[in-house]
């Protein structure tokens, strides 16, 4: 602004404003002149009403928000403000604010639009920050480093997984072989328990009832009967529902002609139950010269009745006692 006008409160007539040297178009010159006039009017207005704060203006007028035009006009006004402020009653920024609230102008609308933008941007930024605060602000090198670290970690974890899977496989196969061995042992224990007479047993078989009115069935006849049955494949034998015949069973007679099996007396009639193939057992008992013909023969003249109940249940047990003398000659094989 090359021109300067006399009084601070005087407004030049537009016709007095000289045409600017730079512009050659008359329209531009008029526009410039009008703008100048408006600026000066504003300055006049400002000075006419109390503006106040001359010391403030003098102190910090140089660091306005980069305002070429407003700064220029302010510079223009500076020398005159002191006079005006000394005469006019000073008002402060609060009064200015109050007036602005009551009489909004065009500048406020623009400020409102810009504040709207800033508010939106602020909200967006806050949302971005809260949504993914960890990585959105990170730079490329940091992200690459993070990625490398994660890749190495995942490789380590994958090798760990492979190792654990190998361990699991080996443990599983070990468990399988252990279970097989356990099953075999359990089956063996069952077989041996039945053989030793320590568990009840049931299955197909025969029941042989020997009625012997003369009391002439002795221990030998009974032993013969048991051996015939064993020969025919009897797996479990029981006499009178009370005595289980096992490997160590013995047959004898007490002094009065009573029968003893394993030390227990056997009353007549004698019932022998045997588990095995019923047909084979019956044939073994009844063949000519066998136990039935012997008992029903003239020497004993008893009677034998054979039935085939299904199943034959044998509940009596043999009480085992530990071997006092016999020991295994070699160490028992340990099942794996």
């Amino acid at each position: 602004m090359p021109q300067r006008f006399g009084g601070p409160c005087s407004v030049p007539d537009p016709s007095q404003i000289p045409a600017p040297r730079r512009s050659s178009k008359p329209g531009a010159a008029v526009r410039r002149a009008r703008r100048r006039l408006v600026s000066l009017r504003r300055a006049q207005h400002r000075l006419a009403e109390p503006t106040g704060l001359p010391e403030l203006r003098g102190g910090i007028a140089e660091n306005h928000e980069g305002d070429a035009r407003a700064g220029a006009s302010a510079d223009q006004d500076v020398p005159t403000i002191d006079d005006a402020a000394s005469v006019e009653p000073a008002t402060n920024g609060v009064g200015k604010l109050r007036r602005a609230f009551l009489h909004p102008g065009k500048g406020q609308v623009i400020a409102a639009a810009i504040l709207l933008l800033v508010g939106m941007a602020g909200v967006m930024q806050i949302k971005i920050n809260t949504a993914d605060a960890t990585y959105s602000g990170a730079r490329r090198e940091d992200l690459i480093q993070l990625l490398d670290g994660l890749g190495a970690q995942s490789r380590r974890l994958e090798s760990e997984i492979a190792e654990l899977e190998r361990t699991r496989t080996s443990l599983k196969s070990g468990a399988d072989s252990g279970r097989t061995a356990r099953d075999a042992v359990r089956k063996q224990v069952q077989d041996l328990s039945i053989l030793a007479g320590t568990v009840p047993a049931q299955g197909l078989g025969i029941r042989m009832r020997i009625s012997d009115p003369g009391g002439r069935v002795n221990a030998e006849v009974l032993l013969d009967a048991v051996e015939e049955l064993r020969d025919a494949g009897a797996e479990v034998i029981e006499i009178n529902d009370t005595v289980r015949i096992v490997a160590s069973s013995w047959f004898g007679q007490d002094g009065q002609g009573g029968l003893l099996v394993d030390g227990a007396s056997v009353t007549r009639p004698i019932t022998i139950e045997a588990i095995g193939d019923p047909h084979a057992l019956e044939e073994a008992a009844q063949f000519r010269g066998g136990i039935v013909s012997e008992i029903e023969g003239p020497r004993i003249s008893g009677h034998v009745q054979i039935e085939k109940p299904d199943p034959v249940a044998i509940d009596s047990l043999h009480a085992t006692n530990e071997n006092q003398y016999a020991r295994p000659a070699s160490a028992a094989p340990t099942p794996r």
Binding site: I60, H64, E65, D67, S73, F101, L115, A121, R139
Partner: protein, 110 residues
Amino acid sequence: MIPLIGLLVGIVLGLAFEPSIPQALQPYLPIAIVAAMDALFGAFRAYLEGTFTDRVFVVSFISNVLIAAAIVYVGDQIGVGSQLATGVVVVLGIRIFTNAAAIRRALFRA
């Protein structure tokens, strides 16, 4: 009054419609916001001092935001992005404090 309403409407719009800016511009949004705050404080101070001009306000607002974002962008390109961002924030922060002090003096004479 109207600027306050504008600010509130902007916040409500941002909350309601959740506008999103392109991923490439996201690192420059915080710097742009700080620059905008600086321009706003400067404008408020100029207004209290009677030197407010809306045209200057708009121009300074836009140029402040663009220059701040551009400085950080250039810094990112040459590998000193975070340092330059810090520098821009510090400078703008100093300006904001200066403007705030002037506003305080204008409003409360203290």
